[in-house]
């Protein structure tokens, strides 16, 4: 059973159709890429999955359970975590506290038992993602590339089974991106996380993703492995524009 399944998800803003019958799925212990030109609806899809955006049609299934009607915090408690393209860090807290507070929020889920030692867990995750050097800085002071890693660390604190990453590599240096790719691979392989990745750094996407979905104008135009997608004429057209469309 896939961790996440969207079934014919539709989102409208006024008269514009932002998502039109989009169906994707994410399996455990795998990395799925979601690519497409600007305005294709990738972030909108993430918002629809996490519940920040209500649907005009279709369903969102987590672990086989229909969560379409659930508010965002209840979906998160099903093991769903995400990062944001426009950083949503807690600016009044330090890097360490940004990570720690996520664990403290998790401790309040009311699951009974299962409470974590947030200090120890935060330290473990900060080491895991490589933020130890900046752990005591204010989040407003660190560069974007690292800020994105803080968002990832924060998401990991709630021990998700499914992770949605929205352009995690933008603002990162090439070295950072490479390390980031390795980290994602480890999270999927060792911890069995299902990861869905929206990213414009194609090198990263092509390297780490087993499956890639391509969105264009709110519709899915292709799915497959990196090689399949790279050679798909529809995808090339989507990115470069159809050759016959000029004059």
């Amino acid at each position: 059973m896939p961790l996440l399944e969207t079934v014919d998800v539709k989102v409208r803003f006024g008269g514009n159709v932002a998502l039109d019958d989009v169906s994707i799925s994410v399996e455990p212990a795998s990395i799925t890429g979601l690519i497409g030109p600007n305005g294709a609806g990738k972030t909108t899809l993430f918002n629809a999955i996490t519940g920040l955006q209500s649907l005009s049609g279709g369903r969102v299934m987590l672990n086989g359970r229909d969560v379409t009607k659930l508010p965002p915090h209840k979906r998160a408690r099903q093991g769903l975590a995400r990062t944001f393209q426009r950083l949503e860090l807690f600016t009044s807290l330090s890097v360490r506290d940004n990570v720690r507070v996520a664990g403290e929020i998790r401790n309040r889920w009311g699951l009974g038992g299962g409470r974590m030692d947030t200090n120890a867990e935060a330290d473990r995750i900060i080491d895991l993602v490589g933020l130890r050097d900046v752990a005591d800085r204010e989040v407003g002071e660190i560069p974007t590339g690292q800020a994105r890693v803080v968002e990832l660390a924060r998401a990991l604190m709630i021990k998700p089974t499914l992770l949605l990453l929205d352009e995690p590599a933008s603002g990162q240096t090439e070295d950072e991106t490479e390390a980031f790719g390795h980290l994602l691979g480890r999270l999927a392989a060792e911890d069995g996380l299902g990861i869905c990745l929206v990213e414009h750094d194609m090198a990263l996407v092509m390297n780490v993703c087993e499956t890639i979905h391509v969105l264009e104008f709110g519709r899915m135009i292709a799915s497959g492995t990196a090689d399949e997608v790279r050679n798909d004429p529809a995808v090339i057209d989507a990115y470069l524009g159809a050759p016959e469309s000029v004059g």
């Binding site: 996490t50 519940g51 920040l52 508010p71 965002p72 915090h73 209840k74 979906r75 998160a76 408690r77 769903l80 975590a81 995400r82 944001f84 426009r86 950083l87 949503e88 860090l89 807690f90 600016t91 009044s92 807290l93 506290d97 940004n98 720690r100 507070v101 996520a102 403290e104 929020i105 998790r106 401790n107 309040r108 889920w109 947030t118 407003g140 924060r154 998401a155 604190m157 709630i158």
Partner: protein, 761 residues
């Protein structure tokens, strides 16, 4: 039928005036994103100015109208936007609410300053063409004034529709709402449009004020007139601050409802009619908030807010608390009884302000009626928390705790409808609650019987509240009560700081920074908001109880909504993120303003020739809180931040710190021994705090530089005197004057640049 018709028509008239005021709110809110809390105060100012010109100076009505509506009001609106509101771009929602509130308070004190509240002959504000110019419509006798008011409302509704559909500026105002950047790319000037809309909004407020004052028919009071137009908030909310047709409907419903209450529940049979009638707008506002659909969760405002607060460590908080207690103890020994009482009053107010630090500073939500929770607490203590009678009466600890619990529950009821909504709506809900308490609860002075139980909520209009006795400690004396209030404040302040460092505090900070991120981490934002609001209400309740105990007996004026607003304003000015901001607020409001005014009055009586000057200064001081409040747009993090930053310098230099402490102990010892009087104590203390640090800092720096073998820098005004000009100086001066940074005079008229552009390169 006759009654129905009569009150329907009157309801339409009043509703029409509500619409005029509410439409002004909608216009300014849509174009500038700022909810103009000062709308009522502008209406009030206009009414007073019109009265002055029309009857004070005897101008003919058309001329007076032209001056007030055609010139002064629009000018006031435009100036307000250009000078104050424009700076609010990029500030948090809290600041966007506080600054207009500050303007409102400023206008209020201005009006009471200019139009001294107790004239020998009451100010009479007549209807247009007088009260006897009437016509009969459907057997109902109406004054021309009422007819004019109603038709003006319709004309204005039509006029605004015309403006928004048929004029380019009006269409551009709607375009600003859609996309201000795009309008700029089209060549439009959003700033100019916002100024225009504020001018229009002020005009509408002024018109509403002039129309409604004689319809209400009461004596002219600045506070009452301001609140009158605040009733229009409910109508504006009906249209969700966007839709004018819905606002119109809301205003008419409001007008009709208030009049039907008078019609069908005549005051001679129903004692609560008057209070209920005046509460209807607030009840309606509350109901509207209940049915508004949920907002989308707000994302982070990382790049947009300029406010920054650095949390002190728990250790610093304990030290600061201890220092406070010691300082108050030391002051107590040299102060007169009246001064002790004033200081105790200020500190109890600081406790109320602490509730705002928790709610607004930590959690980013707003309560505009902190004192109303104090009123609830006081009522509870009065009924259930006093043991003994007469001189032996004491407030019990259980009474205080019960008051806290009840306030928390009431707080939950107030906050519940607005928790799903943005901060502005919660602020409005608390304001509705505050006005409701003042109009409906604190006016319950007589005895009522319900289900066989006799009770009176606010007995006799004034409650006598004794000082508390807790365990073996009796706080009857002024000295001991001052120390109790100080210790309670210090403990609560330290408690708040430790709360902020706890996981609860971190979750509050997270919610304040990004509700959307919190929700996606699994936090129930609504529950956390509710819990913090309840806690804050409980603190405000306890603070209110202590305030009442300090005063001994309290009437409804002590819990006025405007006082709540002043406390909030001063706390924000002090620094809403810090417990010390609360102390700043309470002490400034409770003591310093009074102290400064007393000093000036005393100086005035000492130097008769300058009495007028000092009298002016006394009034000027009363406008002070509002004046510093409106500067918030420029310095949104508050005064404490600045003070703390200046203290950093002192902390780094041990000799300086020790010198200052030594001097201060010396000054206190002299005062204690009666060598110097208290005036000198104040002056020397001020000198120690204000003059020594920069002086000492400069001396120490020079010493350090000399040691390192570097010449101390020459201050800029002495360059050329102490040493000759260098090229670097000239560059620095040119840079300071901006001479090197203006390659193209873009602010110059357009054609100049273009001519320049055509010149050969």
């Amino acid at each position: 039928m006759q009654t129905f018709l009569q009150y329907t028509i009157l309801g339409l008239v009043v509703g029409g005036v509500y619409f005029i005021a509410a439409s002004g709110l909608v216009v300014t809110y849509t174009t500038s994103g700022i909810f103009n809390f000062a709308q009522g105060a502008i209406a009030m100012l206009a009414a007073f100015t019109y009265w002055q010109v029309r009857w004070g100076w005897g101008w003919p009505a058309p001329l007076a109208l032209l001056l007030v509506l055609g010139v002064l009001a629009p000018l006031l609106g435009a100036v307000l936007y250009q000078v104050i509101m424009k700076n609010l771009r990029g500030t948090s929602e809290v600041t966007k609410i506080i600054v207009p509130v500050g303007v409102m308070l400023g206008f209020l004190s201005l009006a009471t300053w200019i139009w001294n509240p107790t004239p020998r002959t009451p100010r009479l504000f007549y209807k247009f063409f007088g009260a006897n110019a009437t016509v009969k419509i459907f057997d109902v006798r109406l004054t021309w004034h009422e007819i004019i008011a109603f038709f003006l409302a319709i004309v204005i509704a039509g006029g605004i529709a015309f403006l928004f559909r048929r004029t380019r500026s009006g269409v551009a105002m709607r375009a600003v709402v859609d996309d201000p950047d795009l309008l700029q790319l089209n060549g439009g000037r959003p700033e100019r449009l916002a100024t225009l809309s504020w001018a229009g909004g002020a005009f509408l407020a002024a018109l509403a004020g002039i129309l409604i004052t004689p319809i209400q028919g009461t004596a002219m009071s600045a506070n009452a007139l301001t609140l009158l137009v605040i009733d229009a908030f409910a109508a504006a909310m009906f249209g969700r601050l966007k839709s004018l047709p819905r606002t119109f409907v809301g205003a008419i419903v409001l007008g009709l409802a208030t009049n039907y209450v008078i019609a069908y529940f005549p005051a001679n049979k129903w004692t609560w009619t008057g209070a209920f009638r005046s509460s209807i707008p607030m009840i309606l506002l509350f109901v509207v908030l209940l049915v508004l659909p949920q907002d989308r969760l707000r994302g982070a405002t990382v790049l947009r807010t300029r406010e920054r607060f650095r949390m002190p460590s728990l250790r610093t908080a304990w030290i600061a608390g201890l220092v406070l207690v010691v300082v108050v103890w030391a002051l107590r020994t040299i102060m007169a009884t009246t001064a002790i009482n004033t200081l105790a009053y200020g500190i109890t107010l600081s406790i109320i302000a602490l509730s705002l630090v928790l709610l607004t500073g930590y959690a980013g939500e707003i309560n505009l009626a902190a004192l109303s929770f104090g009123a609830i607490g006081t009522i509870i203590v009065f009924h259930y928390g006093i043991s003994g009678t007469g001189n032996d009466a004491r407030m019990t600890l259980w009474g205080i705790l019960l008051a806290a619990v009840v306030c928390a529950v009431v707080g939950a009821l107030v906050a519940l409808p607005a928790l799903r909504l943005r901060g502005l709506y919660l602020a409005l809900a608390t304001m509705a609650f505050g006005v409701f308490v003042s109009r409906m609860v604190l006016t319950e002075i007589g005895e009522r019987e319900l289900f066989g139980i006799k009770f009176s909520i606010f007995q006799g209009g004034s409650l006598t509240i004794p000082r508390p006795e807790i365990g073996p400690f009796d706080f009857k004396s002024n000295d001991s009560f001052l120390m109790l209030a100080t210790v309670v404040f210090a403990l609560m302040a330290v408690g708040l700081v430790s709360l902020r460092h706890s996981n609860y505090g971190r979750r509050l900070a997270a919610m304040k920074d990004s509700p959307a991120a919190c929700a996606t981490l699994g936090m129930s934002v609504v529950r956390l908001k509710l819990s913090v609001f309840m806690m804050s209400a409980a603190i405000a309740g306890v603070g209110g109880v202590l305030m009442s105990a300090q005063l001994g007996s309290v009437n409804l004026d002590r819990f006025d909504i405007f006082l709540s607003l002043v406390i909030l304003l001063l706390t924000v000015v002090g620094g809403i993120g810090y417990a010390s901001g609360a102390l700043f607020s309470g002490v400034l409001f409770g003591c310093s303003i009074l102290a400064i005014q007393n000093t000036l009055t005393k100086l005035g009586s000492d130097y008769k020739s300058l009495e007028a000057v000092f009298g002016f200064l006394v009034s000027a001081v009363s406008v002070m809180p509002a004046t510093i409040g409106v500067t918030m747009g420029k310095n949104p993090s508050g005064a404490i931040t600045d003070i703390v930053e200046s203290l950093e310098g002192i902390k780094k230099s041990k000799p300086l710190m020790l010198t200052m402490i030594g001097l201060q102990v010396l000054i206190w010892a002299l005062a204690w021994q009666g060598v110097i009087n208290n005036w000198h104590f104040v002056i020397f203390t001020a000198a120690n705090l204000l003059i020594v640090p920069p002086l000492g800092g400069a001396v120490l720096k020079n010493m350090a530089l000399k040691k390192a073998g570097v010449e101390p820098p020459v201050p800029p005004e002495l360059i050329g005197i102490d040493r000759p000009f260098t090229d670097d100086d000239r560059l620095a001066i040119e840079h300071a004057l901006g001479l090197d940074a203006v390659p193209l005079p873009v602010s110059a008229p357009v054609h100049h640049q273009e001519e320049a552009a055509h010149a050969p390169a």
